[in-house]
């Protein structure tokens, strides 16, 4: 039930996006994949679900070598993975209810209307949206709500893995916090293995057990929030220093709420002290 990339390389024409990347996510773990915009985080995520094939290297999910899977096997694997797209990628010709219903990947259950109504209602509740939203079209709801509907669709099929592609990008800090809380809560309630692609340092420290930093087509650092902060790699330092709050954290004026600290009872919910 793990995700593993071994020496994965990918280039688009002359642009080397991934160069011998190794990446591992254990069962039940949440790993945030940090990195500047355009560095290839989403490309890495799309390798996991088989939307992109690597030029070389291996992508293992659930004990299966993803690039070698046939059409049916790949569809079966994808039905166990929930993928939250950067801009929601909601089907604009369908209302929210139908969008979420499409996430029910079991064909028998998809055909059972009673089950679908109950499941969509449940998913809307999990992402803090009212039932009325189900009747609206994607163009009639806000960006934050679209992201939440995207998450609801991703969890509708009761996936074992959840992949988030920039779940908080383009959102104001309040809505970004709402989404981060949602990811944390989903982690606790449905206990899936997750990868969160983001360039939001603060959010990634909040939701992830471990953090990996992708820069210059390679994974430059992997570890807990504390280990990442302590890293001496200049590329890691440069990336972290971009975030003003991180500079404050590093200066010792602020400590941060992380899943590990919460488990040890060191912190309540919220973070700063």
């Amino acid at each position: 039930m793990s995700i593993e990339l071994k020496q994965v390389s990918k280039r688009f024409v002359d642009n080397v996006v991934l160069d011998g990347v190794d990446f591992y996510v254990a069962e039940g773990e949440t790993v945030a994949l940090l990195g500047p915009s355009g560095v290839g985080k989403s490309v890495l995520l799309k390798h996991i679900i088989g939307l992109i094939k690597p030029d070389s290297g291996e992508v293992w999910v659930d004990g299966q070598l993803v690039p070698m899977l046939g059409r049916k096997e790949l569809a079966a694997l994808r039905s166990r993975i929930g993928y939250v797209f950067q801009n929601g990628a909601l089907f604009d010709s369908m209302d929210v209810f139908e969008n979420i219903r499409l996430g029910i990947t079991d064909e028998k259950l998809y055909g059972d209307k009673e089950y679908c109504i109950e499941r969509v209602r449940e998913c809307l509740r999990l992402v803090n949206l009212s039932e009325d939203v189900g009747r609206k079209y994607p163009s009639e709801i806000s960006g934050g709500m679209r992201k939440r509907v995207g998450i609801a669709r991703a969890i509708a099929g009761k996936p074992v893995y959840l992949l988030y592609d920039e779940p908080t990008s383009g959102l104001d800090p309040v809505n970004a916090d709402v989404i981060d809380s949602l990811i944390e809560r989903l982690q606790q309630e449905i206990g899936v293995t997750s990868v969160v692609v983001t360039h939001d340092v603060r959010g990634s420290f909040r939701v992830a057990d471990r953090i990996a930093l992708l820069a210059q087509a390679k994974i430059r650092a992997v570890g807990t929030a504390e280990e990442i902060i302590a890293s001496k790699d200049p590329v890691v330092q440069q990336f972290l220093e971009r975030d003003l709050e991180m500079a404050v954290i590093q200066a010792g004026r602020l400590t941060f709420d992380t899943p590990a600290r919460r488990r040890s009872g060191e912190f309540g919910v919220g973070g700063a002290g």
Partner: protein, 266 residues
């Protein structure tokens, strides 16, 4: 040095063009293969095909009848202009019926639908591609070919021949009314002329063309839209390419089918 650079550029251009063409041919072949495989998933495509057929059929009916009506009227007027006093009047009946069935009905309908359906399919699928909706469908373990392409193509293949038959009938009707009012052609003369020149093969030829055009104006735009790249500009480019490519294909198929079917008849 300059001729050498120009030769090198030409080689690069030819090389890139060949690679791109081979890549398109490969992707087009695999799309057709996926369409064939997708037939088995009838639970997915049947309801969507019904919706699309209604949309394509009813949505295009008015414009198809309008254009075929004008085509029938113009044919009738031109027949009057060219043949009055030269040939018996009943010949106009034969010309109107044969022109509509053999050429104007299928080709005009094909060209109109290349613009109307072709642009719509390419823009819809292109937008879905650039906004990651097609990736989203794949990520849910669902086949975009069965959910999006197959219903659109089958809808065209069902609706377009029906539209062509209706266009033929309507164009002939308007042609007769025009001939009656402008040339004084009686129904008996019109019917005699129509029957005199008519062969049953004409109907089969018209129907064969309508199916071939239906395939062209649905499969090509679906392929182009499905492979759209580079955002809004890409969607615009795909839409234009789809309309141009399917229109040219309609005219090419028209020539090929005429040679194949009518060219062998003595």
């Amino acid at each position: 040095m300059r001729p050498f650079t120009a030769a090198l550029d030409l080689r690069r251009y030819v090389g890139r063009w060949s690679l791109r063409s081979a890549s398109h041919a490969g992707r087009f072949f695999f799309m057709l293969l996926d369409l064939g495989r997708g037939i088995a998933e009838w639970r997915v495509w049947v309801p969507r095909t019904i919706d699309q057929t209604m949309s394509v059929g009813y949505g295009s009916l008015f414009i198809v009848l309008l254009v075929s009506g004008f085509a029938g009227a113009v044919t009738s007027l031109q027949a009057g202009y060219q043949f009055t006093g030269q040939l018996p009047l009943y010949v106009a009946g034969g010309i109107i019926v044969e022109s509509m069935i053999l050429e104007l009905g299928p080709v005009l309908t094909g060209l109109i639908l290349a613009g109307r359906i072709g642009a719509r399919y390419a823009a819809e699928l292109g937008s879905m591609r650039v906004t990651e909706q097609i990736d989203a469908l794949e990520s849910l373990g669902r086949s975009p070919v069965t959910h999006l392409l197959l219903p659109r193509i089958l809808a065209g293949v069902i609706a377009i021949p029906v539209l062509v038959v209706m266009a033929n009938a309507f164009g002939i009707g308007v042609g007769y009314i025009t001939a009656q009012s402008s040339l004084g052609l009686t129904y008996a003369d019109f019917e005699f002329g129509a029957r005199y020149f008519f062969r049953p093969l004409d109907l089969w030829y018209s129907l064969a063309k309508s199916y071939a055009f239906a395939a062209a104006v649905t499969i090509i735009p679906c392929y182009i839209g499905f492979n759209t790249q580079q955002g809004a500009e890409g969607v615009g480019r795909a839409t234009t390419q789809a309309v141009v490519a399917s229109s040219v294909t309609v005219l090419m198929l028209d020539t090929i089918l005429t040679k194949l079917i009518l060219g062998t008849v003595k």
